[in-house]
């Protein structure tokens, strides 16, 4: 690995804390990912990306900035990458997946705040997220109340925080609000980048992001095979890297991986024996390096075959229809696409549960694990009705509520093993 110390210092990172973070992350990665058996060759690319996630990729961002391109960081799948690409910007997901410096975060946030929000603050206050420090603009979005209020506190801590409002109902007024917000966001992007969004640049951006989503959709569909050609952990990793990597190179690497996996399916080879209990995970997003529940599941004689999550199908299952002759018409198409996202902040939100059922069927899963982060009110509130509806439809469901700490791993493991045993007996 090259020496990036100079670059990290120039970004203002706390080198000691950052070293500690990278060493924990590196060890966890080797233990969890590299120890898996029969991994696809195509995962080597993602191993490389993870190895360089704070190195080479950050250097690329710095090079892009030197060429006058803007870096836009965000925390949510409602922030359209298309618009960022249309001003020749770079869109990156920001770090919020690890229990780092929660003591620091708790000096600004209530203790009963979800791990995702606490992590974002822990990384900022600990100065260990190079993506955040390299961002010219950090985009916040009014999804849940926790995030909404947290951005008020985050504002003074970052260079340029831009908050986007979001609708909470799937109504005409809601859609108009979303489009108006996207229009405002274009203005903001044009201002910071000094570049105009044109029909050509926006069309090209839509095509780039569509191709990226098509690649992960292809991966999602291949996972219907038994034996599973790829572990849930590796597939989750691909979905996590989705937010950090260069979109074109990422698309290419996912497609190469898919070529290999399709061959595996044809030959009937997989990472777990045929007939292994298959599960779909539904609920809160799992940002890098949140691998806690998948590790417990895949060490309990089960395999995860799909994620109904922002880091997963909720973030990628819709494409943008390429149509329209003006920026405004293309923006309509983009708004239509994003307005489909069935995040639990919407009320009511029936399409989410319908889609979980569809995934269970298409991916030949035996059961669903509903995953909620502690204190994430929208998903925890929704978990009860979702569980009831799934069980009523004959889909065994296990509801888990946890955070980023490891202290409840034993109890979670007991529940997961019992759930897998329940499914086997059917």
């Amino acid at each position: 690995m090259s020496d990036y110390t100079q670059m990290w210092s120039s970004l203002g990172l706390d080198l000691k804390g950052h070293d500690a973070l990278l060493s924990v992350l590196g060890n966890a990665y080797s233990e969890i990912f590299l120890s898996q058996k029969n991994r696809p060759e195509g995962m080597k690319y993602f191993d490389f990306v993870m190895g360089e996630v704070h190195g080479l990729r950050i250097k690329e961002l710095m090079d892009a900035k030197a060429q006058g391109r803007v870096v836009i960081g965000s925390y949510c799948v409602f922030v359209p990458e298309e618009l960022v690409l249309a001003v020749d910007g770079v869109a990156v997901g920001l770090c919020a997946g690890a229990e780092f410096n929660f003591e620091g975060a708790e000096t600004l946030l209530p203790r009963n705040t979800c791990s995702l929000i606490k992590a974002a603050f822990g990384f900022k206050l600990g100065k260990v997220c190079p993506y955040l420090e390299a961002s010219d603009v950090v985009v916040g979005e009014n999804t849940c109340d926790g995030k909404k209020k947290a951005y008020e506190i985050l504002g003074p801590l970052v260079k340029d925080l831009y908050v986007m409002d979001l609708p909470q109902t799937k109504s005409e007024a809601g859609k108009a609000l979303l489009k108006a917000e996207y229009r405002k966001f274009i203005k903001k992007l044009e201002k910071v980048s000094g570049k105009k969004v044109t029909v050509a640049s926006l069309k090209k951006a839509v095509e780039t992001v569509n191709a990226k989503r098509m690649a992960v959709k292809r991966l999602a569909a291949i996972r219907a095979a038994d034996p599973a050609p790829i572990s849930g952990l590796d597939a989750l990793l691909v979905n996590q890297v989705f937010f950090h990597d260069d979109p074109v190179r990422f698309t290419d690497s996912v497609n190469k991986l898919c070529d290999e996996l399709e061959l595996r399916v044809k030959n009937g080879t997989g990472v777990f024996p045929k007939g292994t209990t298959r599960l779909v995970i539904s609920g809160c997003p799992m940002a890098v390096p949140n691998w806690k529940v998948p590790v417990l599941v895949e060490s309990s004689k089960a395999v995860i075959v799909g994620e109904e999550s922002c880091v997963g199908e909720r973030g990628s299952r819709w494409l943008t229809e390429v149509k329209g002759n003006t920026v405004d018409e293309i923006l309509d198409s983009i708004t239509d696409r994003y307005f489909n996202i069935d995040c639990a902040v919407f009320t009511p939100n029936p399409s989410r549960c319908d889609y979980v059922k569809e995934m269970k069927k298409n991916l030949h899963a035996q059961g669903v694990i509903h995953y909620s982060l502690q204190f994430c009110q929208p998903y925890i509130m929704e978990s009860g009705p979702v569980e009831k509806e799934l069980e009523k439809s004959g889909i065994p469901t296990l509801r888990l509520e946890t955070d980023y700490s490891q202290e409840d791993a034993g109890q979670l493991k007991t529940r997961i093993e019992a759930f897998v045993e329940r499914l086997k007996r059917k």
Binding site: E407, Q411, T414, R415, E417, A418, E421
Partner: protein
Amino acid sequence: MRYAGIDIGSRTIKLAVIENGRLVFSRTSLTSHNPLETAQDLMKGAVFDRIMATGYGRHLIKGHLLCPVISEITAFVRGARFFPTDCGSILDIGGQDTKAISLDTDGRLCKFEMNDRCAAGTGRFLEVMATVLGYTLEEFSAAALSAERAEKINSMCTVFAESEVVSLTSQGAKRNEVALGIHKAIVSRSAGLLKRVAPDGGKIFFAGGVALNDCVRILLENEMKRPVFVPPDPQIVGAIGAALSASEDE
């Protein structure tokens, strides 16, 4: 063939041996600071052909003994079927967790719920409260049953409840009425779990160390308005379940 089951719990370790479908041997011991050693001591002299482990320490023994594992939940379901009852649900209150399980008509696992990560409202909670009030566990249950009214205990957290109890007694509350309040608190919490997984689960199979407490059993019956069955030795149900699973695993 003789089949053994070992249930490594947080407070006690249980061993049961089954032969020809009959329980031929069982033994219980406190877990201590070294559960592996305690488990090995417990198995000394026991004769069996195969063994299966369950309980929160099940993975601990796996590396030291050729021993498959099952979760406590499956072990209790299997163990409950050993007894000739027609229970539709199981409540297990052990040393540090509480499980509520609903069964289908064939007595198989349907749904389950467990308490969250802390030991609020479990056997350990009762132990600490008995000590605070200066009772042995046997005296504790009897005292609660003798009370005509109960003091209200609001907290289920062992630490907070302890200070609540201290403040009640210092205000002159009757010891047995505080005891009844504590028993009521634990029952209302467990009943909540049961109502969630098995709202119409018929007779309740009550297992785990807390099932030895008569007051909890009686209050549970009143609260749920359903009959409660307590097996002769409620602590070894999980070990029996593991032994039976060992016999089926061939």
